[in-house]
């Protein structure tokens, strides 16, 4: 599934939008989420999951190709924690 498929769904299910309008709205939703996450704030989508920004401390690591020791810099990463509803949905099939 790509963004184009989501746009089609929005057109079918919501109605009253042109493809272009629906595409702009879908972009707007993801752009808003990106803006919020960029500030470090988390996003909770009930029924789907939480997008959480986490601070990682620096830690020693290795270049897996050369074996050289390197320091992995402190950084900020995004993690996704699926909601229980989604986990159940994925496992309730067969």
């Amino acid at each position: 599934m790509t963004k184009a498929d989501i746009v089609d769904k929005v057109c079918d299910r919501v109605g009253g939008f042109s493809k272009k309008e629906a595409a702009d709205l879908v972009d707007q939703v993801f752009d808003t989420m990106k803006q919020v996450l960029e500030t470090g704030e988390k996003i909770k989508i009930s029924g789907f999951g939480n997008f959480v920004v986490r601070d990682k401390k620096p830690r020693p690591g290795r270049n897996p190709q050369t074996g050289d020791e390197i320091t992995i810099e402190a950084r900020r990463v995004l993690t996704f924690k699926p909601s229980n509803v989604l986990k159940v949905a994925l496992n309730s099939g067969e």
Binding site: M1, T2, K3, D5, I6, K9, V10, R13, V14, G16, A22, D24, L25, V26, Q28, V29, F30, T32, M33, K34, V36, L37, E38, G40, E41, K42, I43, K44, I45, S46, G47, F48, G49, F51, V53, D55, N63, P64, Q65, T66, G67, E73, A74, R75, R76, V77, L78, T79, F80, P82, L86, K87, A89, L90, N91, G93
Partner: protein, 128 residues
């Protein structure tokens, strides 16, 4: 930010009614859920991709009591953050990207040892 706050913001910025904005946002996440349930991956360029990973049964432990727990095979969604969002999230936190311009080491590697495969993304799982 919660889903309803996201809906409000979309409504404000697009001029849609809150009800319409809500339908749009719900449709997005519902269609994503359907894709994952069907076992399809989702790719949103600049944001990230979702895939479904199959996990085998294993013997876990309750970290609090130490009891052995049987964990049944399961499917879990896995999110991999897209390049743009990864950089934006990390951007204002580290002074610059000069230290690490590329996420993976791309130096010319001499003999190439055999443990490259261990570079899996962190497969964190809940034990309980």
């Amino acid at each position: 930010m919660t889903k309803s706050e996201l809906i409000e913001r979309v409504a404000q910025e697009s001029g849609l009614t809150k009800g319409r904005a809500e339908m749009v946002v719900n449709t997005i996440f519902e269609s994503m859920t359907h894709a994952l349930v069907a076992g399809d991956g989702i790719e949103i360029r600049g944001f990230g991709s979702f895939t479904v990973r199959q996990y085998k049964a294993y013997e876990g432990r309750n970290p609090r009591t130490g009891d052995v727990v049987h964990v049944a095979p399961k499917r879990l969604p896995f999110f991999k953050v897209g390049k743009e969002l990864r950089e934006r999230v990390n951007g204002r936190w580290t002074p610059s990207e000069k230290v690490e311009p590329s996420p993976r080491p791309t130096e010319p590697s001499p003999p190439k040892p055999s443990f490259t495969r261990r570079r899996d993304e962190n497969l964190s799982e809940d034990v309980i």
